[in-house]
Symmetry: C2
Subunit: 340 residues, 2 copies
């Protein structure tokens, strides 16, 4: 069943039927009702391929996800981010086009996505400090929004959490508890959030005239195993840290495992603060993991990112939209005063 057939069956022109379905005013309400009823009865839905060709709009937003490095994994927090974005898309009538590509194929993927017109805009996740994608997308002239920021966050739209303040706050919290040797188990090097978080950690030390021991800082893909191995190595040292600041609950779980294996107890012998993205399957509340954490919901971020991007698509002339979210520190059972 297509528009022509539907129009014929109603004794109307395609024009009128199309207008009736799309809510244009040039059609009598009575006729509109007739059309809608017939469309429903015939289970008619306009062919979206034709619709998109005719309108020139793809009604689709692209997410290009490069598999990171050799591990070739998709960042697990993307899961919740996509869920949030997907909610907005469904509500606004957009489709989500998800493209999984190798590490170096991202630009090519964006290029074809744009030049063959299959998306109206793209959502960029996991930006590096110096991410070529930003300039590249600007040169392509397509609306895009970055979740996160680059080192120079001007001239394009983004939404990010205040990573520096967030980690400064967390570090201050541990310093206030008397910890002086605090390990930073960070995300992978190169990602801008990692840089900013380290900056927050350093700022907190600097404000108290404390030296930072660089050997207490490490960064990698945020797996459970990484948290475990990093913590194990650190805890074996003579001058082991008494506290850990961890960039995600996933490696934090690994840190806890390492702590437990050495017969130590979190919150008593070792303190841990982590960044909590409020992952749905790793709840960090009182019933859940119970880590002291600075937190910001990645799913909410996904929702909001999608909203902003759609706004940018609908109004191509609006300047860059930038939104910075504060995080909140919640005290769990994983922190306590520095043992003496």
């Amino acid at each position: 069943m297509n528009l022509r057939e539907l129009a014929e069956s109603l004794g109307l022109s395609q024009t009128t039927v199309s207008r009736a379905l799309n809510g244009y005013p040039e059609v009598r309400e009575e006729t509109r009702a007739r059309v809608l009823a017939a469309a429903r009865a015939a289970n008619y839905a306009p062919n979206s391929r034709a619709q998109r060709l005719a309108t020139g709009r793809a009604m689709t937003i692209g997410h290009v996800i490069p598999l990171s490095g050799k591990t070739e994994m998709m960042n697990p927090i993307f899961n919740d981010f996509l869920t949030g974005a997907g909610e907005t898309y469904s509500r606004e009538g957009y489709d989500m086009l998800l493209k999984i590509v190798g590490d170096n194929e991202a630009e090519e993927a964006y290029r074809t996505l744009v030049s063959n017109g299959s998306v109206d805009g793209v959502l960029v996740q996991g930006p590096q400090s110096h991410d070529p994608r930003v300039a590249f997308l600007q040169s392509l002239g397509i609306p895009f929004l970055v979740h996160g920021r680059t080192a120079d966050p001007t001239g394009y739209s983004w939404l990010d959490v205040a990573n520096i303040r967030s980690f400064r706050r967390a570090t201050d919290f541990l310093l206030d508890l008397g910890h002086t040797r605090i390990a930073l188990v960070n995300g992978q090097d190169g990602f801008d959030f990692s840089r900013r978080r380290q900056r927050g950690y350093e700022d907190a030390h600097a404000a108290r005239d404390l030296e930072v021991d660089p050997s207490l800082i490490s960064g990698a893909v945020m797996t459970e195993g990484y948290g475990h191995s990093a913590a194990t190595a650190l805890l074996e040292r003579e001058d082991a840290p008494t506290a850990f600041l961890v960039s995600s609950v996933i490696p934090a779980i690994g840190v806890r495992r390492a702590v437990g294996e050495r017969g130590l107890k979190l919150g008593r012998d070792i303190s841990l603060v982590c960044f909590d993205d409020v992952l749905s399957y790793l709840t960090n509340d009182d019933q859940g993991l119970g880590f002291t954490a600075t937190r910001s919901s990645i799913r909410d971020a996904g929702r909001r990112c999608a909203e902003i991007l759609i706004e940018l698509i609908r109004n191509p002339d609006t300047g860059p939209i930038q939104e910075l979210w504060e995080t909140e520190l919640t005290v769990g059972r994983s922190t306590g005063p520095c043992p003496t």
Copy 2:
């Protein structure tokens, strides 16, 4: 730049240029080379909307993901599944359309996806034992593939792991170690994999004339918190189990937390076997979580599911393709003989 302009600039007809680009034989190799060079130089990519309208193929595969129940979360293992499927899609030139919908909106989503022609096939994840989607998709007459099975797995295509054998094997392993009170921390009720896994657990008991204590069985959305609360409740009992059989590494982490909180040690006081989907960020090898597990890579499953589905799309007349994967048991550090 579109086909007409490209053709004009070359002094050729659209037909010839189109054929040259699409590899048809009716064009001289020399001309083809000229066309390809010009296309590359002009950075031309055929408009996919027009292409799809003309060919009638969407070159897109739909994944409709219903948020489960009140928790409204996307199953975290979908992440790796999508990664695998996405690899195949990229290789085969297909796009992935991801649609996140509320629990009851799945059918509607499929219906519009199909009737407006935006997908050539759909991949169904997380089937219930009696899943209305199967009959519904059959009635829509679109190629589809189910990852998993329903209670009656006939007449449609699917790929699944041998859940019954897998859990029977795991249960046997624990029984062999002398455990008799084995808790089953299963997935959510209603999902067919949960049913089959319980069946395997029961079969193993029945084969040894052992009674199953139904109070040792529970099922829920597979979060860390669920594993923790289920294990906590069980361990508080007088007749606490000495072993746990857990449907995913995520709740297994929660079980381990509960065990640790009670001052017990996994592999010595309490044994744990879990199903390991080989999640990329929760590696369960020797360096990783170290759980004894029956395992099957969900990412490989995603890859293969996509392949089969594309095969079904290209050859609509092939009968149902069904593939059953065996799992392998690997012994980690989380199991040991039943303490006496």
